[in-house]
Structure formats: structure tokens, C-alpha cells
Amino acid sequence: MLEINNLRVDLEENGKSILKGINLTVGTGSVHAIMGPNGSGKSTLSYVLSGRDGYSVTEGSIKLDGEDLLSKEAEERAAHGLFLAFQYPVEIPGVGNLTFLRTAVNAQRKVRGEPEMKSGEFLKLVREKAQELKIDSEMLKRSVNVGFSGGEKKRNEILQMIMLEPKLCVLDETDSGLDIDAMKLVSSGVNALRDEKRGFLVITHYQRLLNYIQPDFVHILVDGRIVKSGTGELALEVEHNGYADILAEMA
């Protein structure tokens, strides 16, 4: 479903090379984890996938369901089924959470030629899904992420993911700033979305999230390259020995 081929990316502002030839295929129904030390390029990969400005792709390609993503705007990628759960969800004062969700859902439907979701139907669905994530109606009414705790922001990301029903979910350090209870809530939200048609790319520094969202494959990203791939076992190995062993192997 997702095919990344020899992806090379520089930072636009200073030309610094961040990703140095990434090759990765995520098939439908599978969960891939990307782990790596700080500064290895994990977040850059998620931003380049989502279409954020500030990066220049010097080589390679990204395809989702056979379509070239790099030529699409961020909003087109979203409508095509890509979702990025942000490491740091943005606060938007003055834009209500519900308004935001409904605008997003209907914008994507419009692009796909589907009818708008009716207000009643939408509200019913949001309330049901929000309840599963322990998001109360007060949080739905407030401005997007404004005054939310770290855990609330991440749960709000997952709520958006559930409502938008993407094909490929990219989770960027979703575990950062979460306590165990919040991590369980977020993980069960993610796990409920796992099915045959959907792929996941879970980006994380620590293995602990992967106890709750168990990956089919784990890739270790170091200095802009995937240096090692394996099954879930590999994550445990990293947890035990840190990245030092892998870095030593490379040296």
C-alpha cells in the first residue's frame, strides 16, 4: 500500500541532508514500527509523508495505493487516505473542536465525491467515538487542543483518526508525554482501527508503546537510513540494549 523508494530529503533552510535513502513498504493490514535515536530523521519522515513545507525531496518516491504522494498537497494526501497523528498537536484558539472535525470529515468526503455527513449523524458518531476515548462533551466544544493536557491532545488526535478513517495512519511519537493510563486508552483506540484494509506506521523512540500496539515489523532508523529490520522481537532487543549495540554494529 505504502511504498517508499530511495527517499532522500534535505532541510530547505540549510540544505542539511536528513533522510539518506529510505526504502520501506507497508502492506495493508500490517503495523510497522520505526524506532531510532533522537535526530535520526523519524519525525522528518512523518512530515515528508504528510506534505509539510520546509523539506526538499532530492531523490526517490512515495506512493500510496500506487499514486504518487509527493506531487500532492497536504490536504490532497489526507483525502487520499493518509493521516498523521502529530507529536505536538497544534492549538487553534477560536476554532471549535467539533467544527474542525466536521469541516475535515466533509472536506475529505467532498474530494472523494461522497455526500456531506448530516449534522445529526455526525454528532452521534463523534459522541460515540469520543466516549470510547473518554473525551467528554466539554472537550468537544472547546477550541482545538486549547488548554488540553498532553494526554487529552493525543486522545484528540486518535479521535480525528477514527473519524477520518484513513488508509494509512502515521503515528509520530504518540507515546510522548503520556502516562500509562492514557497510553492504554490511545492504544486501544488505535487497535480498534486495525483491520485488513489499513496500514500503520508507528514512529517511536521507546519500545513501551509497542507493548500495547504490537507491530508486525520493526525498523531501526539511524542517521537517515533504515539500518536494521525485523519482527517485534527487534523492539525488545533495543529496549534491552539501547541503540548502542546497533550503532556499534554499524561502526
Binding site: G51, F86, P89
Partner: protein
């Protein structure tokens, strides 16, 4: 070269020569005094400190610049039950207006009562305006007091069942209108006034408001899409104890608009909230000049102004809170912010606090900036198109000012006016 005062007096002389002051009647003394003020101070010049950011030339000079007529069916009218009072090119239009009858209030047309020997409005007409002439002179308001021949005089004895709606229309491309309204709200009563519509090619409007103890006054105004108009408006309000004054103005387009609001909190526990939202594209110049004087204890005032500017539009905010020595426990707040959608637009702000009491809370802030790129990307990453995302963020920016309106249905109408303006003015 003439000195500044000579030049201003010369301009006043030329302008006065084109106007005719009504003789006699209860308002004559106030008019004569106002005329003397104008002769003494002259009319504003761009060299005046108070007009540093807005060139008053077209507001002051003898001849009016012509302004294209605006199709009235496109004028955003308030959709609410209201008593309609219509002025065309600054002249009351009986056939388009409702009967000036509403339970609890007394409404007179200024033109009808000018010859009368006595009128209740005598204690207000030109009186509150002249109090507002210090410490800063406002000669266009004095000119208005001297020469206005039409307007409404509203005496609110009991709260009426619906708002009074002042609707301005124009039928001539060269109309030069002067309107003067007086509103007196008696103890414990409340009045809502709506204002909208293109008034004239050049419009000089003055409204004097006196609120008795426990009275309240709500004002919601839209200045519409008659882009070529040039307008100078003044509101002078005097607040007695426990009274409430709330005013919100939406301005969309307009080559030149200067809205001055001058409020004196002269009774304890009174409240004044003045808010404005404006959106301008291209040759748009909008100036909000506000002066709030705290002259009694325990009063609250808020000034909330938001401007969205693009394609070289200019926004101005001059806002002052003056706290007199007697006005302990004052709570004053002032914020003015501009969202500049491109590099060509500009916002000039002059926020001022002048405080002589020692036990007060006053804060002010002023910012100008671009759309938050992080927020824009976040919205886009969820599938919202760039233009729609920018509109959402722009409406959110204006929200703080719009929320000052208490009536929810009016808030919704204002928001929908704003969103349709944004849709029409999306960058192509």
C-alpha cells in the same frame, strides 16, 4: 506657508460656507456654540497628531468625492424583528420607514422638531458631544452638531419589545449627508439600536447617548460594501451609575472610514464594552479611534478591535483609557490586533493608558501578524483546503471581537457576513 491653525480655520471657513445652519428653536444655542468651536479649532488636517494615520482631506474639503451606488438588495439587512427607520442620502424617508411608534419609547425626527421652542433632547444635543471635545478636539463632530438637519431623537422610558433599526441608503453618487441622533435611556430601561447600509458618498454621523442609572444600551452596526463611501462617525456616550453601554461594529470594505467612540463613565459600577471587527481588501482604510474616560469608582471598560487586512489595506487603531484620580477600582482592558494576509497591508496602532488613580487594573495589548502557518498545516493535514483553512483561522481571529455581541442570532448573522466576505475575497 500658513501655520497649521490658520490652514485648519481656512478649511473650516470653506466648508461652513457650503452649509446652512437652521435658525431658532431649542437646539439653536447648542448649534451656535458648536459653530464657534469649529471656527476656533478649524477642521482636521493631516498634520494633526490625532489624524497622523488617517488623511482627513476628503472628509473635510468642500466638494464630495463621488461614490458608486450600491445595489440595495445586496445590503446585508439584519434579519430580526425591529422598528425600521430609513434615511436616504441622509434624509428621513417616511415611505420606507415604519411608523415611529413603539411602546415605551418616544421617537422624534430631528427635522420635524427643530423649530420647537422646547424639547427633552435639549439637555443632551451638543452637550455630550462638547464634553467629548476635551482633552482632544473632534471638529467634525462639532460641525455635525452645528449643521445637522436630520436624525432621530429617541427617549426610552421603558424597554421596548424590539430593537430600533437605523437603515441608511443612498440614491445619489455625490450625496453629502450629515445625521445627528440623540438617545436617552431612562433609569432601568434598555434599548438595542441596529445600524446598517450605505449612507451617502460622504457621511458625517454623530450619535449622543445618555444612560441614566441602571439603563443599558446595545449597539450593533454593520458598515457595508458600499466601498467608495467616505465616512466619519462619532458616538458620544455618558454613563450614569450601574449603566451598561455595549457597541459592536462590523466594517467590510470602505475607502475611508473613521469611527470615533467617546465614552465617559461618570457613575459608579457602570460598564462600557466597545468592539469592532473589520475586513479590508485593497484601497481600504479603516480607523477606530476610541477614548474611554473613567470618572467614577468601580467601572469596567473593554475595547476589543480586530482587523483583517490584505492587498495593501490599512488599519488604524487609536485607543485610550483615561482613569481620573477619583476612579478607584477601575478595570480597564484594551486589545487591538491585526491579521495581515500579505506584506502590502499595514496596521498602525496607538494604544494609550493615562492613569491618575492608584488602585486600578488596566491592561492593553496590540499585535499584528500573519496567519499561523503551524495551524494552517494542521488543518490541511486533516484534509481542509488551504483557502478554507485560512478562512477558518481568520474567522477564529475575529471571534474575540464578534463574541462581544450578546445576541446569539445577531452573532450568527455577523459571522455569516464575514464568511461570505472571506469567500469572495479569497486569493486567486
Amino acid at each position: 506657508m500658513m501655520n497649521l491653525l490658520q490652514e485648519k480655520r481656512e478649511a473650516a471657513k470653506l466648508r461652513i460656507n457650503t452649509l446652512k445652519m437652521p435658525e431658532g428653536g431649542w437646539s439653536f444655542a447648542a448649534r451656535a456654540a458648536a459653530l464657534e468651536r469649529v471656527k476656533r479649532t478649524g477642521l482636521p488636517s493631516r498634520r494633526d497628531e490625532y489624524w497622523k494615520f488617517t488623511n482627513p482631506e476628503t472628509l473635510v474639503k468642500q466638494a464630495t468625492e463621488s461614490a458608486a451606488l450600491f445595489k440595495s438588495d445586496e445590503v446585508p439587512f439584519f434579519e430580526t424583528d425591529r422598528l425600521k427607520i430609513v434615511f436616504i442620502d441622509g434624509v428621513f424617508c417616511e415611505s420606507s420607514s415604519d411608523d415611529l411608534v413603539l411602546n415605551g419609547i418616544e421617537i422624534d425626527r430631528l427635522a420635524d422638531v427643530i423649530p420647537n421652542k422646547v424639547h427633552w433632547a435639549q439637555s443632551i444635543y451638543g452637550v455630550i458631544e462638547s464634553r467629548g471635545q476635551t482633552p482632544v478636539e473632534r471638529p467634525l463632530a462639532a460641525l455635525n452638531t452645528a449643521f445637522a438637519t436630520d436624525g432621530v431623537l429617541i427617549n426610552v422610558k421603558r424597554t421596548p419589545s424590539k430593537p430600533v433599526s437605523l437603515i441608511y441608503d443612498h440614491s445619489s453618487e455625490n450625496s453629502d449627508a450629515i445625521l445627528h441622533h440623540v438617545i436617552k435611556v431612562n433609569s432601568g430601561a434598555s434599548l438595542t439600536v441596529l445600524e446598517n447600509g450605505p449612507a451617502a458618498a460622504r457621511f458625517n454621523k454623530c450619535m449622543e447617548i445618555q444612560l441614566a442609572e441602571g439603563a443599558s444600551f446595545h449597539h450593533i452596526r454593520t458598515q457595508g460594501r458600499d466601498h467608495e463611501r467616505r465616512a466619519s462617525t462619532h458616538m458620544f456616550a455618558q454613563l450614569n451609575a450601574s449603566s451598561t453601554f455595549k457597541s459592536f461594529t462590523l466594517t467590510v470594505n470602505g475607502r475611508l472610514t473613521r469611527n470615533e467612540v467617546v465614552v465617559e463613565l461618570s457613575g459608579e459600577n457602570s460598564i462600557a464594552n466597545i468592539a469592532g471587527a473589520c475586513v479590508g481588501d485593497g484601497d481600504f482604510h479603516h480607523d477606530d479611534t476610541v477614548f474611554v474616560t473613567h470618572a467614577a469608582e468601580n467601572c469596567d471598560s473593554r475595547q476589543v478591535f480586530k482587523k483583517v487586512l490584505r492587498n495593501g489595506a490599512t488599519g488604524v487603531f487609536q485607543g485610550k483609557i483615561l482613569v481620573k484620580q477619583c476612579a478607584q477600582k477601575t478595570d480597564g482592558y484594551q486589545i487591538s490586533q491585526a491579521l495581515l494576509l500579505d506584506n502590502d497591508s499595514q496596521f498602525n496602532a496607538k494604544p494609550e493608558l493615562e492613569i491618575y488613580a492608584d488602585d486600578v487594573v488596566c491592561s492593553h495589548g496590540s499585535t499584528s501578524g500573519a496567519i499561523d502557518e503551524e495551524a494552517l498545516f494542521y488543518l490541511r493535514s486533516r484534509g481542509v483546503e488551504r483557502a478554507e483553512a485560512a478562512d477558518l483561522l481568520t474567522l477564529a481571529f475575529l471571534g474575540e471581537a464578534v463574541e462581544e455581541i450578546e445576541d446569539e442570532s445577531l452573532t450568527e448573522q455577523i459571522v455569516s457576513l464575514l464568511s461570505s466576505w472571506l469567500m469572495r475575497h479569497r486569493p486567486s
